[in-house]
């Protein structure tokens, strides 16, 4: 594959192929940053891939008490799904099971979207008739009595149809340790970019997949072209010095946000250098025919 070399790092002349998604942002607040984080972590748990989880979700950023609607510490989380109906279902279930249940929590819309999802409008029924609707100006929220007081929840949350899922970087290195160091540096840089999440564990996925399988009914299977232990046995995409590959998958509220995150990730990997980190950066695509969003690595160089 043709490539450019930046500071001793080989960067493939290829592109990441990404898809349009539906997304929303929620702000979760609590009496302390600890409890806001607790609710946010659990409500974005088991949300790595739409294939098996229904949605992809993660923490966008922490908010100070000055940045939240109710003046308490908070967390902004992002949720992505393939359809509005699925996103609605995921928001309802996750907020209902993980935020409503978390001590002192409250939940607000974190996005001004062209359309909206039901938030408190669905959860209010938990109040069994004791729920109270409040509307001040354009804001509409529900007060649901719970055992530690009241759960305050905005009636609806903004929805965007311009979100992008599946932006990615393939981080290739000599050993598992150096490759992981490079991927960690990239994940840390991407975490600082607003309006994006990297939904996999710590922002990193080690089991990249290809479409299809030799087994009937299995829609995705291991990406053998990037498995170092199969380097000699399959049509590999790896060089003779590649010992480990990690992938970073990025979902963003806008295409620009995904591009900014990929740029930040590449810069962090290049900065770490080939000695301590990765030796090569690539990206995953399906030939460009499946996803409408293409992110060429050569346009995102530091």
């Amino acid at each position: 594959m043709p490539a450019v070399t930046v500071k001793g790092m080989r960067i493939d002349d290829t592109f990441a192929e990404a898809f349009g998604m539906r997304a929303t942002a929620l702000i979760i607040t609590a009496d302390s940053a600890r409890w806001a984080r607790q609710a946010a972590i659990i409500m974005t748990g088991m949300a790595t891939s739409v294939i098996g989880c229904g949605c992809e979700a993660g923490i966008d950023r922490e908010l100070t008490s000055k940045q939240t609607p109710d003046g308490r510490p908070g967390i902004r989380v992002l949720l992505f799904a393939v359809s509005t109906a699925e996103l609605q279902k995921q928001v309802q279930t996750r907020v209902g099971q993980c935020v409503l249940t978390s001590p002192s929590s409250a939940c607000y819309s974190g996005l001004e979207g062209e359309e909206s999802l039901r938030l408190g409008d669905g959860l209010r029924y938990f109040g069994d008739g004791w729920q109270i609707s409040k509307r001040v100006g354009a804001k509409h929220f529900w007060r649901i009595p719970v055992m530690d007081g009241e759960f305050v929840c905005e009636a609806s949350a903004g929805l965007t149809k311009k979100a992008v899922g599946g932006g990615n970087l393939l981080v290739i290195g000599r050993t598992a340790q150096t490759t992981r160091a490079a991927a960690e540096a990239a994940a840390a840089a991407i975490a600082k970019v607003p309006d994006v999440i990297a939904p996999f564990p710590g922002g990193i996925v080690r089991s990249g997949s290809k479409v299809g399988s030799k087994y009937k009914g299995v829609s995705a299977s291991t990406n053998d072209a990037y498995c170092p232990t199969l380097r000699g046995a399959v049509k590999t995409a790896l060089d003779h010095d590649a010992g480990s590959v990690l992938e970073i998958v990025i979902d963003g509220l806008t295409s620009d946000a995904v591009a900014a995150a990929m740029r930040a990730g590449i810069a962090a990997i290049v900065k770490l250098g080939p000695k301590r980190g990765a030796t090569r950066i690539s990206a995953g695509n399906y030939g460009g025919k499946l996803g409408p969003h293409h992110y060429y690595l050569r346009k995102l160089l530091p």
């Binding site: 008739g129 004791w130 109270i132 409040k134 929220f141 007081g149 009241e150 305050v152």
Partner: protein
């Protein structure tokens, strides 16, 4: 752009209907057309030009100077823009407002903000009886928007209110928030007897307590609720004292159990009982 100013020449000899003098009805009219608008409520003709001295300007911003309590229906069905009244107004100021900002620097008569739907009404002085309430035969009073009274309000403030927010920085008369269907009524000062009489839903906040309270309100203890703090942040812009009150620990009384009982009265005093 300068605002359109109407200065009262002298105290009118009859009550006047000022409902035609709102921004959306004056938009695009010439000075001559405006001066010909009739305001009389008796058989004696009283045109704008006879009653007021008109200084033309942008009708989006109207100022009425030297107003007195004989000017009724000021800002009725106002849909947008700004209307500033320097002086007192008569009955039904801001009735059925659907938008914009109406500011009265003096006192307002009865039924101010009656049936208001949206927008902002501010009264620097006092408000008469039945603030935001319905006229006889109407099912609901205020339906949205925000009404702020810096002084006291008369009887039955917020009567049959359905939605919206009323803030009274002074004291309220008897039966404050009577028959409320929903919405929020905040009274920083004291309230007369029987607040929330037949309250179905909605919130009444009484900063300095009230006269006799109906026994059909039941004590739910003292709480410092997040929802009230959140409301405080939203009304801070309109009233600092009301926002301060909402952030305090308040005693919650649920009622009126004589009817639906899904409403609440928050008391700012007696929280140590």
């Amino acid at each position: 752009m300068t605002r359109l100013t109407l200065t009262l020449r002298q105290r009118p000899s009859q009550r006047l209907d000022l409902s035609p003098l709102v921004p959306h009805l004056l938009a695009g009219k010439s000075a001559r057309q405006i001066e010909r608008i009739e305001l009389q409520t008796t058989r004696h003709r009283a045109a704008v030009g006879e009653v007021f001295r008109l200084r033309m300007g942008d009708a989006e911003q109207i100022c009425i100077e030297g107003s007195c309590e004989r000017l009724d229906y000021v800002g009725r069905e106002m849909a947008g823009g700004e209307l500033l009244v320097d002086g007192d107004v008569g009955i039904q100021a801001g009735r059925l407002m659907t938008g914009g900002r109406l500011t009265v620097l003096g006192n307002a008569g009865p039924w101010a903000a009656s049936g208001m739907k949206s927008g902002v009404l501010q009264i620097a002085g006092t408000a008469g009886d039945r603030l935001a309430g319905p006229l006889p035969g109407e099912i609901s009073g205020m339906r949205g928007g925000i009404a702020v009274v810096r002084g006291n309000a008369g009887e039955r403030a917020g009567d049959r209110m359905r939605r919206g927010t009323i803030i009274i920085e002074g004291a309220a008369g008897p039966y404050a928030g009577a028959r409320m269907i929903a919405g929020t009524l905040i009274v920083s000062g004291g309230a007369g007897p029987l607040p929330g009489f037949l309250l179905k839903r909605g919130t009444i906040v009484l900063g300095s307590g009230c006269g006799a309270l109906s026994p059909t309100f039941v004590d739910c203890g003292v709480h410092q609720l997040l929802a009230n703090r959140y409301m405080a942040a939203m009304i801070e812009h309109y009233s600092k004292s009301a926002a301060r009150l909402m952030r305090r620990p308040l005693r919650r009384l649920a009622g009126d159990m004589a009817v639906l009982g899904k409403g609440e009265i928050f008391l700012g005093n007696g929280t140590d009982v």
